[in-house]
């Protein structure tokens, strides 16, 4: 009887933001372990499988403050033997982290940043994206609104840069799928607290006032990534119209209400482990860690470049409870995925919608496609 060989070990790092986002709704307040919890659940799943394959996975976590350089953190974790990094950082910080990792052949998974430029002009050969892009989210929403024939949109945009980027993605989606933006209005962020004792009474009057006098429209689409106004729109619009985008009908990669295609299995495992519901960021991190586990199971290697090559190859696919295999777009390493449309209590629909066809994969009707890409992987 052969002596049991040492297990193949794969060490993964999770690098996230130190700050938490302020939200309008109490229900949306992010938990402390948002994101990393998803990675930890995937590690459990990987280690259960790993028992049968003599493989062992471990996770180490670190937090980086906004506007700082993550290089030191990355190198410190790399010194601990970590070669795979699941990252939730703003775009520029992610790129700095990738720069730091280049010399050591580290592989990065972008689980948090939705910027299209990271998959276009700023794409990298060693950065895989499990988070969807703004364009994928906007396209997922637009396809459904077009299916419903709600073609006239009143677009309300926040005054921050990220809001403008989202609005751009929504414009592109409207023109791509045949909707019309009848008017765009800007909701200025004039500062101030989100939690107040009696502010509701004022909001009830402000919102319809802000939205009055608009051309005829079917839906109010909000681009408000900074949580300044969108959550106040539903049921307060001037005319009785559904709200979509940053509030109302929201496109996301995952939602705690998703129960199709065996998803409740994952939701149950998550809730049992963390006593809270699973967020989109959790799922994006779970997907990254599971991709590593799945690739390792198939080729029985811990080498980051070997695993990266396999993940980019034609045999790789991730089962992620969305009804079909998820694969990487080989031109920019974006994980193809269906987009859920959630209303906060149920999943209303899943895009791509039926009828939107594509030569290679219907998932590529979402986001920027190969013929349009600016990405040259380097």
């Amino acid at each position: 009887m052969l002596a049991r060989a040492e297990p193949l070990t794969i060490k993964i790092g999770y690098v996230g933001r130190a700050e938490k986002k302020a939200t309008i709704s109490l229900l949306d307040y992010p938990p402390d372990n948002d994101g990393v919890a998803g990675a930890r659940l995937a590690l459990e799943d990987n280690n259960t499988t790993g028992k049968f394959l003599n493989q062992r996975f471990s996770l180490e976590e670190a937090r980086v403050k906004a506007g700082t350089d993550p290089t030191d953190v990355i190198l410190r974790l790399a010194d601990h033997g970590i070669s795979f990094f699941i990252v939730d950082l703003p775009a520029d910080m992610l790129l700095k982290a990738a720069d730091a990792g280049r010399a050591r052949g580290l592989v990065f998974f972008n689980a948090g940043a939705i910027d299209d430029r990271l998959r276009e002009e700023d794409c990298r050969a060693d950065v895989i994206h499990t988070a969807p892009t703004r364009s994928m989210l906007a396209d997922g929403l637009a396809q459904y609104l077009v299916f419903k024939r709600w073609l006239r949109w009143l677009l309300v945009v926040g005054s921050h840069d990220a809001d403008k980027l989202y609005a751009e993605a929504l414009r592109r989606a409207a023109s791509r799928f045949g909707a019309k933006i009848v008017e765009q209005r800007v909701f200025e962020d004039t500062g101030g607290a989100r939690r107040t004792d009696s502010g509701l009474a004022q909001i009830q009057r402000q919102i319809p006032l802000f939205l009055q006098g608009a051309p005829a429209h079917d839906v109010v689409v909000a681009a408000d990534e900074n949580e300044v106004f969108a959550a106040y729109l539903p049921y307060r619009t001037r005319d009785p119209r559904p709200v979509a985008g940053s509030a109302g009908l929201v496109p996301k990669s995952w939602d705690a209400a998703h129960d199709q295609w065996g998803a409740n299995q994952l939701q149950n495992r998550f809730t049992q482990m963390f006593s809270r519901r699973m967020t989109a960021l959790d799922m994006q991190a779970w997907s990254a860690a599971r991709m590593i586990g799945e690739a390792a199971a198939r080729i029985n290697s811990a080498d980051p470049q070997a695993l990266l090559a396999y993940m980019k190859g034609p045999d790789f696919g991730l089962a992620a409870f969305k009804g079909q295999k998820l694969t990487l777009r080989d031109w920019n390493l974006q994980l193809r995925q269906p987009i859920l449309l959630a209303d906060g209590r149920t999943i209303v629909s899943v895009s791509p919608q039926e009828g939107f066809l594509h030569q290679f994969s219907e998932l590529d009707t979402l986001g920027i496609d190969r013929p349009e890409t600016k990405c040259r992987l380097k």
Partner: protein
Amino acid sequence: MESRVRRAKARSVAPTKASPFEAGRAHFALPTLRPFYMNGIRYCEAIWRCTVVGICVPFLLAGDAQAYKAYVSNEKSNTISIIDTAERKVVGTIKVGQRPRGIAITRDQKYVLVAVGDDDTIQMIDTATNKVVDTLPSGPDPELFTDDPSGRLLYVANENDNTVTIIDIERRTRLGDVEVGVEPEGMGLSPDGKILVNTSETTNMAHFIDTATRKIVANVLVDSRPRFAQFKDDGSELWVSSEIGGTVSIIDPVKHAVKGKINFAIPGMRQEAIQPVGIAITHDGKTGFVALGPANRIAVIDGATHQVQKYLLVGQRVWHMAFTPDEKYLLTTNGVSNDVSVIDVAALKVIDTIQVGELPWGVAISQH
């Protein structure tokens, strides 16, 4: 390995009693004493016969299709639809617990067992009265199960806690469990009863469990999201479906290795929609049937070459199926169109569709 003489065609010609002897058999063969199918799980005929000595079964009359009872679990309606396979219509409905899925009939034909996952139990329905009379301690969230050749033990896949639970049916007690991979579902018992294969959906493996020691003796990696495991009756092959991977793996059960894969291609159908789930193989091992989920088709497979012979269009989101005991018909459950398709096995044609409850999941057919 015993070869089976096809008597189906002969019966419809003239009223004859089939010969009680068959080549290679050591004991009497009553023509209707055939192994029955429960979600594609077959039972070793020799062992089965030893346990049902002395049962008298009526012979088929000329021209009449034998009437069997097909029990269909309706995942959403929380009911079981009973179909008379001769009349091909629903003749009864049984109210059961929350989220019925895996369904089977005990060897003595006395009970229908149905896993009601959201109630964390398996219900026992008396086939004489169609009433729920008892429950089995299945462990949490049971989905699929299979019983052993003696009919005494039940092996249950507990989807939520990565285990296979072993139950003593008679005493209604849990005897133990086996730790497997993440999200166990498929359960296939080898014809000799010695090996139980369980598939785990997220670990993507087929675990080979020795039923005597209750230990895993081998693990075979398959394509993504395996759902169903089916041995050929002669024990020579194990077929495992991969829903997300889109293939069926042919596994050598002795070498514990994948020796081939069945790929599917349907003109005009996008590849991602071809999602193999349930499998049924004829007793003689010559023809296999694979349910392809949202591709809405059953693939007919040559059991020797593993080539796809044709695709049969059935209802929407077809997942599971069962043969009538005479293998004349194959009934499939079409979850999204809420119906059951009837396939004439000899002609390889879909001949009927029967409306059942909401989201039909599994089907088990009585022996008489």
